[in-house]
């Protein structure tokens, strides 16, 4: 066979991840956000969120190039209005049934809304969020199927309820496997293989040791969770792969979290910007990527998706996606 001569051989490379944002620049952005939110009685919120995300993404660097957040306040504002509309309709129905003296039906509507709205929000948020994230001009994307995901979510939710919550770890892992497994990085495909039993054991151990050590083990538990999130993730591109690995130790987490708490207390909260930038810097510094994917070859495959309704719903319901 002819030997392909390309810059990307099967050599192992390790792209570096780092966070370059300065606390003072971020502070400036948060201050403007706050000022405008107060002046506009909170209506500036979507634009504030866009400004914040844009800064954080543009300050994160991989292999010498920064990430980019392309979402706009306008998109998120429209999404916000739609999300508000959905929640208002649900609220009105619950209210109506209560007024008609059939609160049982209201409760049913409420439960049904949770069961349907939450997965729809997660789906929409992922579609919007990843489509608006780029690196070197290449879009990320989410290819999950909404109906499939809603079915998966309802099934797992029911199992968790039936087992009085014991199934929670398995549910969490199944959902993450599905969501992360449908994230695209251009022509690269993400992959996550979390195992419910392992995750359950880890959390059980973390929970009891934290109680026994009066909370001190909590930092190590945190490091375990972070490691579990990172180490089970892979990026595939053709027959090539990138593995992710966390190098954050419990001790390092303790240092970070204690320092952050002190910073917040002694600056009376003004240090919040620095707390966030420190945290992101810490996380980025503690993720190692290794493999043989040639980043140059990742191609533009994902479409643009500008509907932020799911993103805003998820934000309003306080579901953390990433």
């Amino acid at each position: 066979m002819e030997q392909q001569y390309s810059p990307s051989g099967p050599v192992a490379i390790a792209p570096s991840l780092s966070f370059k944002g300065s606390g003072s620049s971020y502070f400036g952005i948060l201050i403007v956000n706050m000022l405008l939110s107060v002046v506009t009685l909170g209506f500036y919120y979507p634009w504030a969120r866009a400004a914040r995300l844009r800064f954080l993404y543009a300050s994160t660097e991989m292999e010498g190039s920064r990430f980019a957040w392309n979402g706009t306040g306008k998109e998120m504002f429209i999404g916000f209005l739609k999300a508000l509309g959905i929640l208002l309709v649900i609220g009105a129905m619950v209210g109506l049934f209560a007024w008609m003296k059939v609160p049982f039906l209201g409760l049913l509507v409420y439960l049904a809304a949770i069961v349907f709205v939450v997965p729809v929000a997660i789906h929409g948020a992922n579609r919007y969020h990843w489509s608006r994230t780029t690196w070197r001009g290449i879009r990320f994307g989410y290819r999950g199927n909404r109906n499939e995901f809603v079915k998966l979510f309802i099934r797992e939710m029911l199992l968790t309820i039936v087992t009085l919550g014991f199934y929670g770890s398995w549910m969490f892992m199944k959902i993450r496997n599905y969501v992360v497994g449908n994230i695209r990085f251009g022509s690269g495909v993400f992959f996550y293989e979390g195992d419910g039993w392992e995750y359950f054991k880890m959390n059980l151990k973390g929970y009891f040791l934290t109680i026994i050590t009066l909370g001190i083990y909590g930092f190590w538990w945190q490091a375990d969770i972070f490691r579990y999130n990172i180490d089970h993730m892979r990026l595939l591109h053709g027959d090539k792969v990138f593995n992710f690995r966390s190098t954050a130790s419990g001790g390092a987490f303790a240092g970070l979290l204690i320092l952050n708490a002190l910073l917040l207390i002694f600056t009376l909260g003004i240090g919040y910007a620095w707390v966030q930038t420190n945290t992101i810097k810490f996380l980025m510094d503690n993720v190692e990527i290794e493999g043989n994917i040639a980043l140059d070859e990742l191609a533009q495959t994902e479409e643009e998706y500008k509907n932020a309704t799911g993103e805003d719903l998820a934000d309003m319901l306080d579901l953390s996606i990433i």
């Binding site: 370059k20 201050i31 980019a68």
Partner: protein
């Protein structure tokens, strides 16, 4: 000439290129389709989207036929670029701040503090004034009654009748129907509730030496009523509460707060401005009734002397007697001298009051 990274939106390939900032845009030396061939591309300022992250990193995106992204991590480039790229093109406010650096952020923090201070000391009192104007007088009476019921006084009927007779000697310029009450308690204080309910404690009566002092005391308290200081103070308290609620997104009904404040009306501390206004209005009342204005000054002196004894009389703690206030009263008396007459009826009633308060 600067170097930056160029991305063509097709593959994640980072191409190092040279960039030139020119009059109306950027000149990029982008590699062409063939190897080794460099093709100059011209991007107009008008067609580009600029993301200024901080003063050392800028991202410029160009849409259209030759879509692409340029990223430059070079403070010198950012500086040069911003000299040519007009600030009016920057549509995102936070980017203006990034452009200005920490100085701008601090300026905005100071601006916000200034805004809050102006809001608190100028806008709120103004709004409170307007709100107070719009509240009907019946509201004053209602509020005064609530305060009275929540804190009933031990009324000395005989002394109250004497005090009422004394007060009737004075022409009050007010729409409110005034009620004067003596309460038999050893507290050196007096207060007025909205709607015109005045209470003088025997503790204070004992310390007064002349009828002019008592007239001055009453005219000061009545002025609080006619000027509706209690309503104004409540309205401004409430609007502060409103702002705090707004910021911390709490709730609560406003009238509920107004009425919950009613209980503390008799120990309400007025601002210095209200005290001065009450003093000046009180002086005018004394002048109009041909009562010696010096009564106000000697009242203050008497109270101040009490101050130097073992304890601070309560009247002083609710009506702080500053040197400024005394000076103000002196100046006012000098500015508006008035003839004072003898008031034998008042003197007689005062004498009886003094005796009854023993």
């Amino acid at each position: 000439m600067f170097t930056g990274q160029f991305y063509n939106h097709q593959v994640a390939k980072s191409i190092t290129i040279t960039v030139l900032v020119v009059e109306a845009g950027l000149l990029l030396q982008v590699p062409g389709a063939e190897d080794g061939v460099v093709q100059p591309v011209y991007w107009l300022f008008a067609d580009m989207q600029v993301d200024l992250t901080d003063r050392s990193f800028i991202r410029i995106t160009h849409q259209g036929a030759d879509a692409g992204t340029l990223e430059v991590s070079d403070p010198a480039f950012v500086k040069t670029f911003l000299q040519y790229y007009k600030p009016s093109r920057i549509t995102r406010l936070e980017q203006l701040v990034v452009r200005g650096g920490l100085k701008w952020s601090l300026a905005i923090v100071l601006g916000m503090i200034a805004l809050l201070l102006v809001g608190n000391f100028v806008v709120l009192p103004w709004c409170a004034g307007i709100a107070a104007e719009r509240l009907p007088h019946s509201f004053d009476r209602q509020l005064g009654e609530m305060a009275r019921n929540s804190n009933p006084e031990l009324v000395d009927t005989a002394a109250s009748a004497l005090l009422t007779a004394f007060a009737r000697q004075i022409q009050w310029d007010t729409r409110d129907s005034l009620t004067f009450v003596v309460s038999r308690r050893d507290i050196e204080n007096a207060y007025a509730l909205p709607g015109g309910y005045m209470v003088v404690y025997t503790g204070l009566l004992k310390k007064l030496k002349t009828p002019e002092q008592l007239a001055a005391l009453l005219s000061h308290e009545v002025a609080h009523v006619t000027r509706r200081h209690a309503i104004r103070a409540l309205c401004s308290n409430m609007s502060s509460m409103l702002i705090i609620n707004l910021i911390f997104s709490g709730g609560g009904t406003l009238t509920g707060q107004l009425f919950s404040n009613a209980a503390s009306l008799n120990s309400l501390r007025y601002s210095r401005q209200y005290e001065e206004q009450a003093d000046l209005t009180g002086l005018a009342t004394l002048r109009e009734n041909h009562i010696d204005q010096q009564g106000m000054l000697s009242l203050m002196e008497t109270l101040q002397q009490l101050d130097h004894q073992h304890h601070i009389p309560e009247f002083i703690s609710t009506h702080p007697l500053t040197d400024r206030r005394v000076r103000y009263v002196q100046q006012q008396i000098a500015r508006y001298p008035a003839t004072a007459k003898q008031h034998p009826a008042m003197a007689a009633l005062f004498q009886q009051l003094k005796e009854s308060s023993r």
